[in-house]
């Protein structure tokens, strides 16, 4: 490892300077988020005062307004859609990811590119047929409709990344079990799935975040009944002005699962976001 060569010099002043730089960068990029968090509890009256007021009596007005507007309902919608689509993806996608990692499959390269393109294509491209078909069959503003639409990016993502995790498993264990006479489904349930579970959890958490963060499908395929958190944000730009405080609350609440995920996932994030190309 390259890091090991330099590690002898780690305790020198250089390391201290670099660490300070890294901390400054981190604090710098996160400062806007912190500022948005202060707007959550900042009274409307001093929000636009210049220079920026940093010390003030916190208010819960923005929360109260959102609760009155059915904010908890949006939160619940977001949770339902993200959880349901993630669960479905794990159930449908895990066997496929395993099969792709172990068996020669007819025209697998073409299949992979098709799967990859489903994930990478701009959402608006898929939204056009989805919207028109949904309008015909009455799936607009239904949970089934939105969850199905989320499978487009999440199922392809999950299969792709899980395939990379499955390839890391040594084949010998499965061979030994097969030679010992275990039927294939037991090998899958008792050996493969427990071994790839960390990867499964990581990929599923990423799927959850992608669904949680998704805006365009939710905006166009949702409606009065199903309104996720991201969709609530533009609705706070009203004709009477922008409700900055309320928007900040929605933004920060939307950020909470992301915060939990970055610490939980650690190095799996790189692997996930590069579709398994870079092993973090």
């Amino acid at each position: 490892m390259a890091a090991r060569v330099t590690s002898k010099r780690d305790r020198t002043g250089r390391s201290r300077v670099l660490t300070t730089l890294a901390i400054l960068y981190t604090v710098g990029i996160l400062f806007p988020v912190f500022w948005m968090a202060t707007l959550m509890i900042k009274p409307e009256a001093i929000m636009f005062v210049r220079p920026t007021v940093w010390v003030f009596e916190p208010t819960l007005d923005h929360f109260a307004f959102l609760l009155h507007e059915g904010f908890l309902w949006h939160l619940l919608s977001s949770l339902i859609v993200a959880s349901a689509s993630t669960l479905l993806v794990v159930i449908i996608g895990t066997p496929a990811a395993y099969a792709f990692s172990r068996f020669p499959i007819w025209r697998s390269d073409d299949l992979f590119i098709f799967i990859l393109a489903t994930r990478m294509a701009p959402p608006v491209v898929l939204l056009i047929p989805f919207y028109l078909i949904y309008a015909k069959v009455g799936l607009i503003d239904t949970y089934v409709g939105l969850v199905l639409a989320y499978l487009t990016f999440n199922l392809s993502f999950y299969v792709w990344v899980m395939r990379s995790f499955c390839r890391d498993l040594p084949v010998e264990l499965e061979e030994a079990a097969l030679v010992a006479g275990y039927p294939r489904w037991q090998v899958l349930l008792k050996i493969v799935f427990p071994l790839v579970r960390p990867g499964m959890v990581a990929a599923a958490v990423l799927c959850f975040i992608f669904a949680w963060n998704e805006f365009l499908y939710a905006f166009m395929l949702g409606g009065d009944k199903i309104k996720t958190l991201p969709v609530a944000i533009p609705t706070l730009i009203t004709t009477q002005g922008v409700r900055w405080g309320e928007m900040s609350v929605v933004g920060i609440v939307g950020l909470l699962p992301v915060l939990a995920a970055v610490f939980f996932l650690q190095k799996h994030i790189v692997r996930g976001l590069t579709m398994g190309a870079v092993k973090g």
Binding site: L18, P51, M120, V124, L178
Partner: protein, 306 residues
């Protein structure tokens, strides 16, 4: 890494060849059926729509490639492509340079990485719509953190609203993208640096190479496949930008920040030009098949991934 030989070895057992043949297909069947329903059928439907006339949201008769010709002759289409190209060609190289520099710094002995790295990932993992909102607030009126403290107080660009200016709006969007995606580049490159073999560095240390030589003669050549793959991935991703533009400018002022995704969105949901929008979607889709193919082949061959 399991090559084809090992992969087929996993299939070796006492079962008959026929059983072996259908078993993997049974496992991939649910996924493939789902993908046919949610991806292939919508795609074919889009192709169908692109070949038909449409008026006020109603699908009419077959008109061949006319919708495609209309789109290709539309200056707004070329404007959108131009916006995407300017955006990508400015944002991605800056993210690349900053990311590479950051990765080298991280790799050169930064402490507390266990805490700093996850924190750095926050912008990348944030919902793009929230990112857009955050920067909308930063630049809001004359009181936002940036618009007041940088612009008003020091009199730079004072009185102009970045996202309201035809000339500046796209650069504002680029700035937001750099904020969001530099950490991703940095941490992906850092992961690459961490996995480089140590022996070339030992040899270089013995030969007395200076840090600049080590970087250009050892690190860069060994890291380059990964750099290429990440840049391709980022180019694909940046090209389809939608959410943050949607909330920051809505494609405006005029069409100054109208990316292809925003253009397609407006075509369908504002003007209801379903035929033309479908033609555009088919073109974009084909483009992305090409992009994905490139990403796949490069990652597979040069990075030994997949």
């Amino acid at each position: 890494m399991i090559d084809t030989d090992t992969a087929s070895r996993a299939g070796v057992n006492r079962e008959s060849p026929e059983r072996r043949f259908w078993y993997p297909y049974l496992l991939i069947a649910p996924t493939m059926v789902t993908l046919v329903i949610i991806s292939l059928i919508p795609f074919l439907y889009t192709v169908y729509l692109s070949l038909h006339e449409s008026k006020y949201g109603q699908v009419g008769g077959f008109i061949g490639l006319e919708n495609f010709l209309v789109v290709l002759a539309d200056p707004r289409f070329w404007n959108a492509m131009g916006v995407a190209i300017v955006f990508v060609l400015i944002a991605v190289p800056i993210e690349f340079m900053l990311g590479l520099a950051g990765a080298l710094i991280l790799n050169a002995g930064v402490r507390y990485r266990g805490t700093l790295v996850p924190l750095m990932f926050i912008p990348t993992m944030m919902a793009p719509i929230v990112v857009g909102l955050l920067w909308k607030i930063m630049f809001a009126g004359s009181w936002g953190l940036v618009s007041y403290n940088l612009f008003e107080r020091f009199g730079i660009l004072s009185g102009t609203s970045i996202f309201g200016s035809r000339n500046l709006a796209l650069y504002g969007i680029i700035l937001v993208d750099i904020w969001q995606w530099t950490p991703f580049m940095m941490l992906a490159f850092f992961a690459g640096l961490q996995s480089l073999p140590v022996n070339p560095y030992r040899a270089a240390a013995i030969d007395g190479a200076n840090p600049v030589q080590v970087f250009f003669l050892i690190t860069l050549p060994m890291l380059s496949p990964l750099l290429v793959v990440i840049v391709i991935l980022r180019l694909i991703d940046a090209f389809k930008i939608f959410d943050s533009i949607f909330i920051l400018t809505g494609g405006g002022p005029g069409d100054a920040t109208e990316s292809p995704s925003i253009f397609a969105y407006k075509m369908v949901f504002e003007y209801w030009q379903i035929g033309e929008a479908s033609a555009l979607a088919v073109l974009v889709w084909l483009l992305f098949f090409g992009f994905c193919n490139l990403f796949y082949q490069v990652a597979k061959k040069r990075l030994n991934a997949f």
